[in-house]
């Protein structure tokens, strides 16, 4: 059960994340690795926390029949991620203030928030499928950035691009280790904020049918 105190804390943390991302915008965006793997995830996390707090106040958010099974929300997340994986969008955020502003709105509210509102409603198999795919696709991204014959972002150096590729690979390997490890040693992992499928409940109570 989330206490009011915890809720306040989460809300504050979300605000803090947004604030830090904005305040250290230049520093974070100077390097594609921190741009893609620190700033964007932090923004998404902020959205995740906001949605968590909001859904406590308005439980209907989390039970919206339109989002039964979490499919609609996860699809929004999917397109949000696809958009921000386009090198054009990343370049755009660096050169156009409008696109930069859009980033601060869409990553929290079209990636992080819908993920929080949909993830636990999704069938465990769908969640497992998405997680496994995330691993494969992070591997593919790693290769794409390391093997690209051209500079994909005009705003970043070629060597930064290759470093980003390597970073994607490391993220994929760490996520594989963390997710895999939990399946072995912490099967009851299903607490709030936990991305792991809620497996112990045998699915039946934790997700929509």
């Amino acid at each position: 059960m989330t206490t009011g105190f915890q809720r306040c804390g989460e809300f504050a943390l979300a605000l803090l994340l947004l604030l830090l991302c904005a305040a250290f915008r230049r520093t974070l965006e100077a390097d594609p690795v921190t741009h893609m793997l620190v700033q964007l995830p932090a923004l998404a996390w902020a959205g995740w926390l906001f949605a968590g707090v909001a859904s406590v106040r308005r439980p209907r958010l989390e039970a919206a029949p339109t989002n039964a099974g979490g499919g609609a929300g996860l699809l929004i997340v999917f397109f949000g991620i696809v958009f921000w994986m386009l090198p054009r969008s990343i370049d755009g955020a660096l050169t156009s203030p409008e696109i930069e502003a859009a980033k601060f709105l869409t990553v929290p509210f079209l990636v992080g928030a819908p993920l929080r509102l949909s993830w636990y409603r999704a069938h465990p198999i769908l969640r497992g499928f998405l997680l496994s795919n995330a691993l494969s696709m992070l591997g593919v991204l790693a290769w794409l950035y390391m093997a690209a014959p051209i500079r994909v972002c005009n705003s970043y150096l070629v060597e930064d691009q290759q470093r980003l590729g390597l970073a994607f690979l490391l993220v994929a390997l760490s996520l594989a280790a963390i997710w895999g490890g939990r399946l072995f040693f912490k099967p009851d992992g299903g607490s709030a904020g936990d991305l792991l499928p809620d497996l112990k409940a045998n699915g039946s109570t934790s997700y929509d049918t």
Binding site: P124, G128, A148, F185, D188
Partner: protein, 482 residues
């Protein structure tokens, strides 16, 4: 005796029977393709090399895929005895599998794709004019579809086992293996299924990555792929996948043989340890496919040789040894199912001998990519996995146990199959020892005699297989009336 014939019926007998019917039919069909290839090599038949290599690709993809399908059906069936599985997952699995088959067949026979089932980078993209990129893409997409099918299958299997046993570690039998705790020890089926679920999920994740990379590279060749890395990923995926099919099929032995011997197959500590080491070995042994890639790090090649040998120990000292003990200590009532299941374990064990030999670097220098290689893997597929699958099929439709008989036709089928498959694989080994390279559409004059003898044996093996499949179809008719 409690765990045997009185077990609750598996929830999805119908779907499993459909999967086994498809498997049996494809096995026979692909064996016929094999006969054609051997006949063409023996110059008994005039096949255009382009067509030969298309048939070779179809034979490889078809056999590996169907070995996987039949293994998965066996695992699903018996896993359903122990944990609650979600029914629709198996239907989606079958549908995606068939979609993949359609794409692959289209790529091969409409698009002319013939790069071998291993789609070794960059051959799919560089065909020398034999097929276009669309065909290569359709083939790779077909494999992706089959990969997704298996991923969903294992996710559901994993979910069900984790929720029933509280964590994969427990389902793998690790408390039993490493702590000696017999409390709540999972049955052999669970330990085997959990092990396969772990390593094949990893294999599929790696396979998906290399497939997507290959697909992108087809259309954007400037995104270069490192040929050595691609080879490592492909052989990791391929090796793990084909091993998974055997390790899934052996579940039929654990579950069915006790019905005949009257002695339950129990999870002992050594059993759990064997599977724990198998988990490691299956994933670490794949460099034995790369022993002639001299740029590979030396330690990986040594690892390939050492683990290739070590892999034989759990098989011989645990599964085969236990089966032998059970056979010796009991008055088994033979029928087609029992005969084929025992044959499966025997064939698998026998096949491990030439496999381990080929896993030695110095042997590999003169045996790699000769017909020795198809020789050894045909032994433990044709006489191993496929025999187990046929055995499971026979068991599925054997009707009332008391009335189950070992008919003359059954005995004939088994002996024809053993003689055919045995002679056929022996010819491969002999040809390999005579330095005949594998995967050649046209053979030299000196090699024709062996090819022709092998073709004869292959026909016998197909006849045996045909008997098993027809018996199964007949049994389906009977059981639906009952």
């Amino acid at each position: 005796m409690s765990m045997t014939s009185t077990a609750a019926p598996s929830p999805q007998t119908g779907a499993v029977k459909v999967a086994m019917l498809i498997s049996g039919a494809v096995f026979v069909l692909m064996m016929l393709v094999g006969v054609l290839m051997r006949a063409a090599q023996g110059d008994l038949l005039d096949l255009d090399p382009a067509l030969f290599y298309q048939l070779m690709t179809a034979h490889g993809a078809g056999m590996v895929g169907t070995a996987g399908l039949s293994g998965a059906a066996i695992m699903w069936y018996f896993l359903g005895r122990h944990v609650a599985l979600t029914r629709w997952v198996f239907h989606i699995f079958l549908a995606l599998f068939l979609l993949g088959v359609v794409l692959i067949l289209g790529a091969i026979f409409l698009g002319g794709f013939g790069a071998g089932w291993t789609f070794l980078f960059p051959l799919p993209a560089i065909s020398g004019g034999a097929w276009d990129l669309g065909a290569a893409a359709a083939f790779l997409l077909g494999l992706v579809s089959i990969g997704v099918a298996f991923l969903l299958f294992y996710l559901e299997a994993g979910r069900a086992m984790i929720s029933a046993y509280g964590g994969l570690g427990n389902a793998l039998g690790w408390p039993l293996a490493f702590g000696g705790s017999t409390e709540n020890a999972p049955p052999p089926t669970i330990i085997a299924a959990a092990t396969v679920t772990v390593f094949n999920t990893l294999g599929i994740v790696v396979g998906a990555a290399v497939l997507v990379v290959s697909l992108i590279n087809l259309y954007l060749p400037e995104f270069a792929v490192d040929a050595l890395l691609a080879k490592n990923m492909i052989f990791f995926f391929g090796h793990v996948f084909i091993n998974a099919s055997i390790y899934m099929a052996v579940i039929a032995v654990y579950e069915v043989v006790p019905e005949y011997t009257g002695r339950p197959w129990k999870s002992s500590r050594i059993f759990a340890l064997a599977w724990a080491s198998t988990l490691l070995f299956v994933m670490a042994v794949y460099p034995h496919h790369l022993l002639q890639d001299l740029v590979m790090p030396g330690w990986m090649l040594i690892m390939g040789q050492v683990i290739s040998y070590l892999s034989g120990i759990p098989l011989l000292a645990v599964t085969a040894f236990s089966l032998i003990v059970y056979l010796k200590g009991s008055d088994i009532r033979w029928d087609l199912a029992a005969g084929l299941l025992v044959l499966g374990v025997a064939g698998w064990s026998v096949g491990s001998v030439p496999a381990i030999m080929d896993g030695m670097i110095s042997v590999n220098k003169v045996m790699h990519n000769t017909q020795w290689v198809p020789g050894h893997f045909h032994i433990y597929l044709l006489l191993g996995e496929v025999a187990m699958a046929f055995g499971f099929m026979a068991w599925l439709v054997r009707g009332d146990v008391a009335q189950s008989r070992f008919t003359t036709l059954d005995r004939l089928g088994i002996w024809v199959y053993i003689a055919g498959a045995g002679g056929f694989t022996l010819m491969f080994l002999i040809s390999g020892a005579l330095s005949v390279p594998r995967r050649w559409a046209v053979h030299m004059e000196d090699w024709l005699t062996q090819d022709r003898i092998a073709t004869g044996f292959a026909v016998l093996a197909v006849l045996g297989a045909l008997i098993f499949v027809l018996r199964f179809v007949g049994g389906l008719g009977r059981s639906s009336k009952a």
